[in-house]
Structure formats: structure tokens, C-alpha cells
Amino acid sequence: MQDLYKNRYSVFIIAIIIVFSIFIVKIGSLQLGDNSYEEKAVNNALNKITLYPARSVIFDRNGKIIVKNYAIYDLYIFPKDFDQINTPFMCSVLEIDTAKFNTLFTDAILRSKKRQKNNAFNKSALFYSNLTIKQYTVIRENLFRLKGLFIEPRSDRSYEIVGGAHALGYLGEASESLLKTDAYYQPGDLVGITGIEKYYELWMRGVKGIKTVWQDRTYKERGLVKDDSFNFPAQSGPNVISTLDIELQKFAELLLSGKRGSVVAIEPNSGEVLAFVNKPDFNPNDLIGQNRGKSFRSMLIDPKKPLYNRAVKGVYPPGSTIKTVLALIGLQEGVIEPSSTYGCSGGYRMGSIVVGCHPHGGPLDVVGSIRISCNSYYCNLFRNIIDNPKYNDVKIGYAQLEKHWRSFGLGSPTGIDLLGESGGNIPTVGQLNRRHGDRWRSSMIVSLGIGQGEILLTPLQLANIAGILANRGYYISPHLVKNIEGVKDADWIRKYRTKHYTTIDKVHFETVVQGMSEVFKPGGTAWGTGITDIEICGKTGTAQNTHGKDHSLFIAFAPKDNPKIAIAVIIENGGFGATYAAPIANLLIERYLNPGKPSSKTAMETRMLTTVLEH
């Protein structure tokens, strides 16, 4: 049989070769011409899961745990893979409506995109943080059918002892600006917002770990990537030993309850803060878990300002407490001797200026002037200091005074390990020029001599003055962290070992200290508030307040020799320093020096505990 179409076989050969060539060229361009595919493939199949470290546990100075952690569970989502069929179920479990769900979902997509910008492996994003136990259980049980969702543990704070809220601070979700500046953080991460939680954030946060897993298209884990460069365990934050004595702290909080004010107690020779109290304050337990945001917002608008850290941000005229410093400056400048006296006839008068004083007998020396808190004495002393013939110029004289004041850590932050500390105000010559015109005289600013006017100090600075008096001439910046385990060298360690000496010679202190020890004696301003077996040195203060009743102030340290505690107490609108501030300070000193023993002044203690001044 003749085959007429034999030559047609070549058409087939040609067709095969054409197809072969087209395919080879196309595949060659995919495999050899474009390098991005391998990266895309790797990104597809790997997922980096963040392992959250436990945050530092915070201990008090005696080794009691104040703050530790507990596990919280966050719900993560692979937005691409979530099946909308599960939306109603998730809404009912999380007790939210569909609109809220969609908002969360959109947020998660944005987070996921943001995360992928940094690292393409990060496909998942936080969807809902802080599941309740019930939510956790229900979701966990149904996880197998909730495609695209998974749960990861993280830790949140748990307060073993409620106390020291303003010192310790609280956590919150990392802000947008922090996320922008520090790539370590991811949306939803908890970071220290205030207190030592904020100041020592870099140490306390620990180090996040990374787990890289193979993940198939359904986001099912298919095992760990066996390459050590992809996996790092999380490292817990090291233990933080705070300087607080939590028992003292709690007692101070108790004494201040129902009042508005601050207490700062310092161990003088180390600068360690023993108690750090503001009232009103907040319960740190309100700022954890699911209610964090809600409670925080209500605290922000609370007229009582529970978040306000008076001890470092509140500024008050120091009132008579400043007389201790002024006496020292007078002695240092040689304006007075310990035995120098100024007369007082019920007040200081100069032209139209009248500074009242309470009745007391005879001219007083330095010790007496402190015991009695004689206003005339200090108005005269103040004027003599700045009108010192040695300088022959009021401005030079004042600058000299200002220099001495500033050496006490006044007018600038003390350097405590809290952010946002105010430096108070010590008026400069320039400030006085602006206020009183270029040609002012000492008589125009005499109220500074009794701690009124432009001079403003924080409670912390007042406590620091008490510490300087206790140390007879130096201070170490007050601080709230004693030690972070394993940290041997850091700026803050060096900073909190440095002694700052005042411009006052040590010899001058004994006179003033003697005066302070006599305030509890009959006729002294704090008579009746002292503690029998403890030699306390104190100074009352009553700060005039344009907005209402005077503030009650007291600074003290004890014992007189080899002091263990220095303290400042301020009770807003508490009236005389002896009314509230002195009793509270003394009760705290007693509690600290005689731990575990009942107070010898039970009536005073009860009165302080039950007084309510806050309206």
C-alpha cells in the first residue's frame, strides 16, 4: 500500500521541537533569569514565631517579691487564611459584634503587613490579646477548625504585694512612636510606661526568642527549622532588687490614705529610696490584663489624678523646711556664728512688709531659731547673706546663695531613676531681674528666706535635703533600684555610687542638726509628735498655698547619730507641719527603726490613719 503522506512525519518532529524550545526558554527565564523566586519560596514556607521572655521579677530590699509574672494568652491570626465562616463563632466567644471583629481584623492585616516589611517570614499578627480563661478554653478546644488562628503565651504582671505603684510603674502596649524607633517591639508588646519598669526597660524586658518553623499552606507547623541561626530561646529579664522596703512602703500608703500628698524616705548614706508614696494613687492590678486600656483611660480623666507622680513632679514652696539650709549657708558664708542672734518682736517688719512669727521668748541663736522656726531670724539672715558686704552687690550675694542652694540638688532634678522628674525652681538672678526689674533689693525677695515665693521643690528634693543633713554634707542621687542581678557595669550603677558634696563644710551641720533634734522638745514646732526612744532630727514647714489651706511639710532623719533614714512628708492642705506631716514622718521612722513592734504612739497613729482630708 502506497503511503502518500510519509513526509508529514516531519511536521510532528518540528512541532515537538518547537514546543520543547518554547518550554525551555520559558522555564529558563523563570529559573535562570529571575532570582526572586527562591526568596519567595523560602518566605512562603517559614514562619518566625516570637517567644516572649518573662519580665524581671521585682523584689523589695529585703528579698520579698513585689511583682512577678503570669502567663496570658494572645490570639494570633494569619489574616489571609482566616475563614470568614468562623466570624460569628469568634464574635460570640470574644463577646464582640461583627463591626468590632472587622475592625480587629483590619488592624491585624495592617500589623501583618507591617511585620512583613521588617521580615517577610512574619505572616501572622496579633489579633486579640489577653484572652480570658474562658475564651482561652473555648478557642483552644475549637482551634482545629478555626483555620488561620493560633494562640501564643506571653507574660503580664502580677502584683504579689500591692504597693509602690508610682515607683514601680506599670506596663502598657508599645506606642506607635516606640514601634517606629525601636524595631525590637511589635504591636501589642507590653513595655514599661512609667516607674522603674520604664527606666530599666532595656534590662527588665529580657530578650525575645525566635522559633522558626516550617509551615505549610494551611499554616500547619511542619517542624522546627533545624538551623541554629533561626532559633533562639527567650531570655528572662534578670531579677531586679528594688530599694523599697515594702513594709514601710505599705505603712506609708496606709498613713496617707484619705489625704493628698507624698512621702519619700531615703537611706541617707546610699541614696536608696525606702518608701515612695503619692496619694491619690492607683492599684497596679487595674493596669494589667484585658481591662488595662479601659482602666487607664478612666484614670487619665479622673479629677483625683491617680497617675500623677507628685513626689517627683509636684512642686511646692518648701516653707520653713528651707531654714535648715539657709542656716547652713549663713554659717558657711560667715554671716552668722552658731551663737548669733536676731531679735524678733512677733514678726519681721520692713516698711509695708510684715512676716508674722509666733510668740516666743527672747532673741534666739541658730539652734533656737530652728527649734522655734523663727521667721524674723531667717528674714534677717537671708538679707544679710545676700547683702553681704563681702560682695557689695546684692546680685553677687544672691548668686552665691543660689550656688549653695543648687549644691543641695535644688533647682535641678536629683537624678532619680524615674523619667519626668522636675527640678523644682530656684530663682536665678535673671529670673529675679525679670520679676522685680533690674534694680531689686534684698527686701523685695525676703520671702525666699522662709521658703515662700519663687522657690519650689519636689517632695523628693525635700527628702534629699533631709538626707544631706543626715549625711552632714553630701548626697547620692536617690534611686529605686538597688541591684539588677548579673548587671555589673552600667551608667546607672556608676551614677548611684557617686557622692555629691554640698558647698557647706561638715562642721556647720552639727549646729543645725542640734536645732532639728530640739523641735520635739517643749516649745519646739513639733512638740508632742516625737518618738520616745528614737532621737529624731526634724524640721516642720508650712507652705502657703494660694489655692487653699496651707500644705503641711516635714523633713526629718533618724537616729541623730549614724542616721538610717531620712524622710520628707508633704500633706496638701494639711495646715501646720506639725499637724500631719510630722506625726506621719515620725510614725514611719519608728516603724522603720523598730520593725515589727507596735507604735509607742497609738493615739497619734490612729488619728493619722483615720484622718480624711481629701474631698
Partner: protein, 424 residues
């Protein structure tokens, strides 16, 4: 052929090169199925369930080969129509008795295994067509003979279309190539290609919502002018008339059918491949992932069992229709080249063997085997690299699956056996 190979009672050998290439492709298939179904961190040899099943299918294929080789040769030729009839009946029966897999009602289930009769319909059709065209005195000439020949392969195609297995049905178009070798006029092919182009243009118009009236206008207008100039020559006149009216009608029908009959997902697939639609998440996701897999292979591949793209499920149907992605990802360009060369060599070898047949039966059988393999190769590889729409058909000898492996084995070895006993 003097090479030693499977020696049978008749004295000649089964073609050595075709056999070796077959074994080679089967091995590639098994290795890639093994790889794609293994675990990521798996270090020791472990057969997945899928790989073990493929091993069983391969053993079954071995049995089929032995049966064919030791069968009485006359049977092949003699039983062609009966076999065809039986397979047609099975394919109709599956419409009523079978169950659905991936939307196609084309499977008989036996316990855990399934058999797809349509995979065997190809070999049956090839044998029936060979039998008919090999009958003494029958030529691909005259309406009657042409109609019978076309009916032999269009009938099973329609049944399989009814089974909703579009991919398998399209394979029967490859018989047009076979009958072209047997004398179908060349303009049939040219007309087919023209209609293909016209179809695509109509779809583009349709998906951009451009009125098909422009196309009608173009064809009829151009047609009228040409008709006017060719009015003297009756033959050309008629031809131009038919082409212009036919083209216009065809584009109208395609446009209408595309709008009304095609399902949305089918439209999506077509439009994505035609570049009318960008969609990296939905339908286009599979194609994108498939390209990533192949592209990730680079020159020398990511290594055996190291292809994350395929084994992690990013590429769909990674052990069946998209098995080529694994070759591309794990063996790279070099592997692809070797694989293509083997496949192309087998096809060209089949043409060579078909051409040396002394009768139409053997030649038609050989060309059928070659053209079916070619069509599968073209569609399967073409879809994985995005040159043609995603049409689910297996890559012969390589994709996982018993029915297709046995069907292709039967087709190939029926021909090789026939070739073995050819009269020189």
C-alpha cells in the same frame, strides 16, 4: 534491533530505547512523588502512603507489560473493536455508578482505590481508530470514512465531557494530529488554528465588554470587498464567502457561549492566562505558586526532598497534575532539561517506530501514542508555567495515579508489542 531486551516468543525484541526511556520517566516520577510527600525534616527513608501506592501502581504496570509481551499478538488487532466497545460502555456506566472526584464524575471506587475508565478510553480509541484506518482499502477520504473516523474519537470525547472531565476530553483532539498523518487535508489544521485564534479574540472582546459587532463588521465588510473583486472566479468567491461568514458566525457563537455557558471559575482561568486579569490570591494564586516553585529551582535545584514550595502545599495538586513543579524546584534547570530531553526522545522514538510500520494499524497506533503523550506534555507543562490555562491532566508516567499510569503503559506497550512483531 539486535540489542538485548525483553525477548519474547517471536524472536524480536521490544524496542530498547523506548523501554529505557519509559523506565527512566517512571523512576523520575516515583522519586518526585516520594520527595513531595516526604516530611521536611525527614532524614531516613520513609515511604509515605502516596509513594507506597505509586509503587503498587508501578508494579501493576510491570504486570501489564508482562501480560502484553506474553499475550498472543493476534489478539491485539482482533479485539480492538471489542475493547473499544467495552471501554465506551464502562465510561457510560461510570456516569451512573461512579462517584465524583474534584467535580468530575469519572471514578469507580474499589475500597480505597479508584479506577478512572476514561484513562483507558484513550488506548481503546487509538486501537479502534487504528483498526478502522488499517482495514484494507479504507482511506481517510470520502465523507463516510471521515465521518466514521471522526466519530470513533469524538464519541468518547463527548462522553468524557459529560463526565465533566474537560481536561481528559480535550486530549482526544490529539487524534486530529493522527488523522492528519493519515491524510486529513492540511487546511483542516489551518482552519482549526484560525478558529483557535478567532476564539481567543472573541473572548478578549467579550471580557472587555467590547461589542462583537466590530468583529462581524470587520469580517463581513472585508469579506464583501474581497467577494466583489473575486466575483469572476467562482471557487475563490465561494471560499471567501464561506470564510468571512463562517468567521463572523464563529466569533458570535464563541462570544455568546463564553458569556452564557462558561462558569465563572473557568472564565477566570482563561482570563488569567490570557493576561486579562491579575489575580495573585485567587485563581492566579496557584499559577503564581507554581511559577515560584519552578523559579526557585534555579540552575541546579534546591535538592532532592528540599523543595518547600511543593511539599508544603503551596503548589496545588503537587503530586498529581503539578508534579512538574517538584522537578523544577528540586532539580533545577539541568533536571528539567534532562527530563524534557527524555520525554522528547520518547516521542521522537515513537514517530520513528511508527514510521517503520508496514501497515496502517501499527502506524496509527504509534502516532496515537505519540500524539497523546505530546498533548499531555504540552498541556501539563504549559499550564504549570502559565502558558495555557490550568487544565487538570496528568503528566504521563510521572504524575501520581494508577489509572493514568496503566492507561499510558497499555497504550505504549500495545504499540511496542505490535512493533516487535512487525513484518520487516
Amino acid at each position: 534491533m539486535k540489542k538485548n531486551s525483553l525477548r519474547s516468543s517471536s524472536g524480536n525484541n521490544i524496542d530498547f530505547w523506548a523501554f529505557i526511556l519509559y523506565v527512566f520517566l517512571l523512576t523520575i516520577g516515583f522519586l518526585n512523588i516520594y520527595s513531595v510527600t516526604s516530611d521536611v525534616n525527614q532524614s531516613t527513608f520513609h515511604l509515605s502512603q502516596i509513594a507506597s501506592r505509586q509503587l503498587i501502581w508501578i508494579c501493576g504496570a510491570g504486570l501489564i507489560i508482562l501480560t502484553i509481551i506474553f499475550a498472543n499478538v493476534v489478539i491485539i488487532d482482533y479485539f480492538s473493536y471489542y475493547f473499544y466497545g467495552l471501554i465506551i460502555i464502562l465510561n457510560i456506566a461510570v456516569l451512573f455508578l461512579g462517584h465524583e472526584v474534584a467535580g468530575a464524575k469519572s471514578w469507580f471506587g474499589f475500597g480505597g482505590f479508584g479506577i478512572q475508565p476514561s484513562e483507558f478510553a484513550k488506548v481503546a480509541t487509538a486501537m479502534a481508530l487504528a483498526k478502522f484506518l488499517g482495514t484494507y482499502g479504507i482511506k481517510f477520504r470520502g465523507w463516510k470514512n471521515i465521518s466514521i473516523a471522526l466519530a470513533i474519537f469524538l464519541f468518547p470525547m463527548i462522553i468524557i465531557l459529560i463526565q465533566n472531565d474537560t481536561g481528559s476530553a480535550l486530549v482526544y483532539l490529539s487524534f486530529f494530529l493522527v488523522v492528519y498523518r493519515e491524510g486529513m487535508p492540511g487546511y483542516f489544521l489551518i482552519a482549526a488554528i484560525w478558529l483557535g485564534i478567532l476564539g481567543i479574540i472573541s473572548i478578549i472582546f467579550q471580557s472587555y465588554n467590547i461589542s462583537l459587532g466590530y468583529l462581524h463588521g470587520l469580517f463581513l465588510g472585508l469579506g464583501s470587498i474581497l467577494v466583489y473583486f473575486s466575483r469572476k472566479n467562482r471557487q475563490i468567491f465561494l471560499l471567501v464567502l464561506i470564510i468571512s461568514i463562517g468567521s463572523s458566525l464563529f466569533s458570535g457563537v464563541v462570544g455568546w457561549a463564553y458569556g452564557k455557558l462558561f462558569k465563572n471559575y473557568q472564565k477566570d482561568r482563561i482570563e488569567i492566562v490570557l493576561g486579562l486579569k491579575e489575580d495573585k490570591r485567587g485563581m492566579g494564586y496557584n499559577l503564581e505558586q507554581s511559577k515560584i516553585a519552578i523559579g526557585a529551582g534555579g540552575l541546579s535545584g534546591r535538592g532532592f526532598t528540599k523543595g518547600t514550595q511543593t511539599k508544603m502545599g503551596f503548589v496545588p495538586e503537587q503530586h498529581t497534575d503539578f508534579i512538574f513543579c517538584t522537578i523544577g524546584e528540586e532539580w533545577g534547570f539541568l533536571g528539567v532539561f534532562v527530563f524534557f530531553s527524555a520525554f522528547v526522545s520518547l516521542m521522537i522514538r515513537l514517530i520513528y517506530l511508527a514510521e517503520r510500520q508496514s501497515d496502517s494499524y501499527g502506524r496509527v497506533l504509534g502516532y496515537s501514542a505519540c500524539c497523546i503523550l505530546f498533548f499531555h506534555f504540552f498541556i501539563n507543562i504549559g499550564m504549570t508555567i502559565g502558558l495555557i490555562p490550568v487544565i487538570g491532566i496528568p503528566l504521563p508516567f510521572v504524575s501520581f495515579g494508577g489509572s493514568s499510569l496503566w492507561g499510558f503503559t497499555l497504550l505504549l506497550f500495545t504499540f511496542l508489542r505490535y512493533d516487535q512483531i512487525r513484518k520487516n
